[in-house]
């Protein structure tokens, strides 16, 4: 990973605000993608933006997601922006003005490619499934030929992307506001898996929760 070139600085990935928060390494991008599960996909429909949530998976070169989420617009080749945001907590400052959030965010730009070959489609679906629930690809029934044909899978190159990260306490600790005597700090937030809920349609003879699912309970989702 360390041999990869740094993230490109194109007109749309160059940060114009809060430059200090930008990260420039491909490994920074992968770290954000590893930590998330739902992306927000932006497309342009009739000149207007549309933003839809979608699950995704990724390898070192591409992010994969279901084409159906954007079926209204992605029939033609069109530019997208896929954004993954990990919300890490509130930044509680002494003044309302200095309040903010801690977060890790990645924005990926490009024209997604429809994955059509059987092998790459299986590769992409496996990556997507394993990203969302590691162990599930080998546990669940794999896609049939018909299901595979019915699945629209898109691949978006990671070549053009930007990463922004904010961590740490508020910035007004050495401002005149520090004398106000107010508490300031961070209120972290963590998404955690809870206990699995069996499908009521399961037979009475209990089917055990597979270990790769049961073992997630209580763990942070953003393990990246």
């Amino acid at each position: 990973m360390s041999d990869r070139p740094a993230l490109s600085a194109t007109p749309r990935t160059r940060l114009r605000r809060m430059r200090e928060k930008g990260r420039t390494q491909h490994s920074d991008l992968l770290a954000v993608l590893r930590g998330g599960l739902v992306a927000h996909l932006g497309v342009v429909v009739d000149g207007c933006p549309m933003v839809v949530p979608t699950v995704y998976g990724h390898d070192d070169d591409n992010v994969y997601f279901h084409g159906s989420v954007a079926s209204r617009s992605l029939t033609a080749r069109s530019e997208v922006c896929l954004t993954v945001t990990l919300f890490d907590g509130l930044v509680l400052a002494r003044s309302v003005f200095e309040h903010g959030i801690n977060y890790r965010s990645a924005m990926i730009y490009g024209v997604p490619r429809a994955v059509t070959g059987r092998d790459e489609k299986l590769h992409g679906l496996r990556i997507l499934t394993e990203h969302v629930a590691p162990g599930q690809w080998d546990y669940a029934r794999p896609p049939s030929r018909k299901e595979l044909a019915a699945t629209a899978l898109l691949a978006l190159s990671l070549a053009e992307a930007s990463v922004k990260i904010r961590t740490g306490p508020p910035d007004d600790g050495d401002s005149p506001d520090a004398a106000l005597g107010l508490w300031a700090g961070e209120l972290p937030v963590a998404p955690r898996w809870e206990r699995p809920v069996p499908d009521p349609a399961l037979p009475d003879a209990a089917v055990p929760v597979p270990q790769h699912i049961a073992g997630l309970a209580g763990r942070r989702l953003d393990r990246g």
Copy 2:
């Protein structure tokens, strides 16, 4: 709330897929907005979509957010799509094909309006701050005249919006796959506040964590 008209069905809010997941009441929209904290704002820049995360607040008629997040594009009046997604968990089916997620999602379309009047700006900022951290508006130092002037606040009407919600177990409990003997169900996820982390710049004479912050630890973020 029950007297409000149902959500409009415009060409872009009418659901074309998964119609059964659509909700049509204004109260459904408000419930999703109450539960979230970070929205994803989509804008069009030079014909390409850009999606940026932003904190928001809302009342019954508008969602408020900082204009600076979209400074690159929102200098002119332009259409946006603001999407709030609450990710509730994985839907683990017997087949890979039937996997999905449970979620609550709202998409709001329109041209945001710059809030310029002092009173409405204070109203919007209060709503935003109190949405993010209830109690913080009265605790922290309020915006000075200069800070208020430096804050770009946008209001987006809730008039054109769509809401989608998926809950419950997977849909393959009565398919032939049910005979596979595999476990299936939901793996819920919950974002929870953790313990507050004091700013290291606080004086040694401990400043107590205010109760409205300390009381959040362990509670779900999406209390809506």
